[in-house]
Symmetry: C2
Subunit: 315 residues, 2 copies
């Protein structure tokens, strides 16, 4: 039983003009989500944001910014084109489309190169890879247009592989497979305090969480499957440039074998450290779209010689 | 311009009975190679072995052993079935089928799971993965039958990613793109002394080498493309359990960013060390087919922060 946890993501920011994205109808966002081959499961709102939980990850709609994250076999590029078409390219400040390296790309309906060919029908852009093709990496495409993000406009993504089996067990069908237990056991609903939380437990396994507080969000997606276990965490709440605190909290919950950290910011450099892990590779570029993007890939050093994994191959 | 260097490999060893594999006609081996979607380009022979250079890697035929390695978009499982069918499963001591993790699995005609489903039509077997699914790894399928390899029956594979651009340049079309220059520059034809060498330079880039001496062989396949550069080295010549010497020579030529070492032997453990690299993961299992198989994944520690790679995406 394999599920592709590693995600595609798009973030689109409007310039000053045009109506708020939150005035677009629920029908429109339902159509967008459907174009990605996903469904809306539930949503929460506050004065700044509508946060939708999807059958494959999340959609956050702010007045001038939309963020969509999809896992599994989704077609996020199609959804992206629909949003850009609706807003109008001329009203858009930036579009950033990402793909984390996937575990079983052969089961995907497209790869990053296919996506870029599609996106370029509407969006002139540049393509990058952060990290080597044979290691963990992030593909990134951005609208080729100067943009000046506001100071403090920052995003932290923590992308974790090889989840500790005990940590993963709470997210797999069984006696303790319920939201209450997961929250109590992991504290995942209060990684930051006082957020409005919307979470969902999939059958027979898997978990998604959206959380909002004012203009801030965090979102967690757990793929606990023994083959290809994966968790992503993302937030735009970075206080005093401190990513160490949220990083420690998240790693404490999932104890992954390895993880990547991706940051977007207007600063030169966000600090990033983790004592228990070794740095495998660090990549940083200041993109023409105004963001400094930093990618770090970390792993837990080998302590012992492992045995090979016996695989069950179903007919 | 991308080429999938990371290979599939099969090794089949006969029991005592039956005619030598070398009595099979050239037409038969041509058919086998064609079933893998490759072609024979040339061959060299000595009293123990026929070594064929293929359009995608190599085929070595000994009296009671056949070894076939194929890269690119080949279908080695089909070729494997044909060989097993011809010999007859009852006359076979062991079949070991491997796949190195590939860079662009989405362009492959099958994945390892598909291959196993096909191989099981004739060959009852067990499947393993050495290494994690999100890192460098080797998939391995073997005939589920007890077998006792002779002492000294050992294989060393060195699978290298991220070839030093200067080292790679000799293998790419240009002024110096010829066999004589490559041999002189790299010494690749004399990694071990006094071997009979057959090498081939592909247009516009790429290089393959088969070398035989008595019962020993070594083979090298170079994919110098900037996207997905890769080199494989394999030999059955391991003197005094020393893999450090050939490893050093090969790493000196290609200076890869990372590499995997895979060893098959009848001993508990082959020594494996390399001062310039860090160990990422080590996996060892003693398989029911009689071989101890050890996998080590190494990388060059990060010295600096790199810039993201700008990608050219062709329409």
């Amino acid at each position: 039983l394999f599920f592709e946890g590693p995600e595609k993501k798009v973030e689109i920011v409007m310039k000053g003009e045009g109506p708020s994205l939150r005035t677009y109808t629920k029908e429109f966002w339902t159509e967008v989500v459907k174009l990605a081959r996903a469904q809306i499961l539930s949503h929460v709102s506050n004065e700044y944001c509508d946060a939708y939980l999807l059958s494959e990850s999340s959609l956050f709609v702010f007045d001038r910014r939309v963020l969509m994250i999809t896992c599994g076999n989704t077609t996020l590029a199609h959804a992206t084109l629909r949003i850009v078409e609706r807003i109008g390219l001329e009203k858009i400040g930036t579009v950033i489309y990402e793909r984390k390296n996937q575990l079983f790309p052969e089961y995907q309906p497209s790869n990053f190169y296919d996506d870029v060919r599609l996106l370029r029908k509407l969006i002139p852009g540049k393509s990058y890879r952060f990290g080597k093709e044979d290691e963990h990496h992030i593909y990134l495409f951005h609208l080729d247009r100067g943009y000046a993000p506001l100071k403090g406009d920052a995003t932290l993504e923590i992308l974790m592989h090889g989840i500790d089996p005990e940590s993963a067990s709470a997210f797999i069908k069984g006696e303790k497979h319920n939201l209450e237990f997961i929250r109590k056991q992991t504290g995942i609903h209060k990684i930051f305090p006082n957020f409005k939380v919307d979470d969902y437990l999939f059958e027979p396994m898997g978990y998604s969480l959206n959380a909002i507080r004012g203009e801030n969000y965090y979102t967690v997606h757990v793929t606990p499957q023994p083959i290809g276990s994966y968790v992503s965490f993302e937030t735009n709440l970075i206080e005093n440039d401190d990513i160490e605190k949220p990083l420690s909290r998240v790693l404490e919950i999932f104890k992954p074998l390895s993880f990547d950290v991706l940051t977007f910011s207007t600063e030169q450099k966000l600090p990033s450290v983790e004592k228990l892990y070794s740095l495998r590779r660090k990549v940083r570029s200041e993109l023409e779209c105004g963001y400094a993007v930093e990618f770090g890939s970390y792993y837990r050093p080998t302590q012992t010689v492992e045995a090979a994994e016996l695989l069950e191959v179903k007919d």
